[in-house]
Symmetry: C2
Subunit: 195 residues, 2 copies
């Protein structure tokens, strides 16, 4: 009994170790540097051990994505609840979102850019993903016009932020005008007559 549980505990610990190593390596050197060999070195086990925990590299990345998304959800929530008016909350969430993307690009990529077969936009989506989207929903809700589709509106807001972030991070939009673009986007998103 105890010996079995000890082993399971050690296994779980090693699994966390893998995910943490992958995240740290990605954040330090980018996802290109995260190879299965490198990762195996990092955790001081051989390559095949990774495959006894995860189906493949993609599954490891998905685990990092879920972990990172929990962080993101927390930061969005903090920004939203700290804001005063509904307008401020929407702006604060938008700024927190883009700030997260810029501060932790590897994490942002694995959640929102790289394809990593995570279920999105379905009830089976991981809780962290739904939490993050939920934060956006709550920020958008007060400024939605009567009868407007809240889900679609939130998705649209999200997409705008995502577009700004990805185009900038890939060098397709000049970095220095980011604040101006973000301000324009949020400004245009809020109907003029809403408090």
């Amino acid at each position: 009994m105890t010996i079995q549980t000890r082993r399971e505990r050690e296994r779980a610990e090693r699994e966390r170790l893998i995910v943490t190593a992958a995240r740290e390596l990605a954040e330090a050197e980018g996802w290109d540097a995260v190879t299965t060999r490198r990762l195996a070195d990092e955790i001081e086990y051989s390559q095949p051990v990774l495959y006894s925990h995860f189906k493949g590299k993609g599954a490891i990345m998905a685990a990092v994505a879920v972990q990172g998304c929990a962080d993101l959800a927390g930061e969005l929530r903090a920004a939203r609840t700290a804001a005063g008016s509904a307008r401020d909350a929407l702006a604060a969430v938008g700024r927190a979102y883009t700030a997260f993307a810029r501060r932790r690009p590897a994490l942002y990529d694995v959640i929102f850019t790289l394809d990593v077969d995570l279920p999105f936009a379905t009830p089976e989506a991981p809780a962290a993903l739904q939490d993050a989207f939920g934060e956006l929903l709550q920020a958008v809700q007060p400024i939605a016009a009567e009868g407007e589709d809240l889900g679609a509106l939130t998705e649209t807001y999200w997409a705008g932020l995502h577009g700004l972030v990805t185009l900038m991070r890939s060098g397709r939009l000049p970095e220095e005008a980011h604040e101006r673009r973000l301000g324009l986007f949020i400004g245009h998103f809020v109907p003029s007559g809403t408090s």
Copy 2:
């Protein structure tokens, strides 16, 4: 003289052949299927020939991107000039942009998603890129408020479209609500009081 020019002509022709083969292969089977060996087979030459024309695979992709961007610019222009009012033109360009992305995903990816070291957002950017952005500029210009930064506003519009497209294409936004989101985005983008 003539023999030299003939060789140069043949070389240029083969270069076009490479780019065309890469584009067609990518559009048919996705960029993952475009390997240097596969491409060499397709053009019926050996691999190293590719490297006598291009610095590497990335340069071939960049050439496809420029070609594809010219197509995009043409479609945007057609949509813009066919529209009636300024509002219609903005909406039409937005729809043409997302339609292009959905109809020719491989092309869209190589222009706007994959990293392929093309100069963006600088005077050295290829003409096709500047043309496409110019179409967006012209569509946005009439609806820009007095004193608003037209460049930044256009970039913001572009980013919104890009976000909608990429999140949908990667399965992160449900496909069926695309039209609704696009309508919401364009609607919110145009100031209410503008004709």
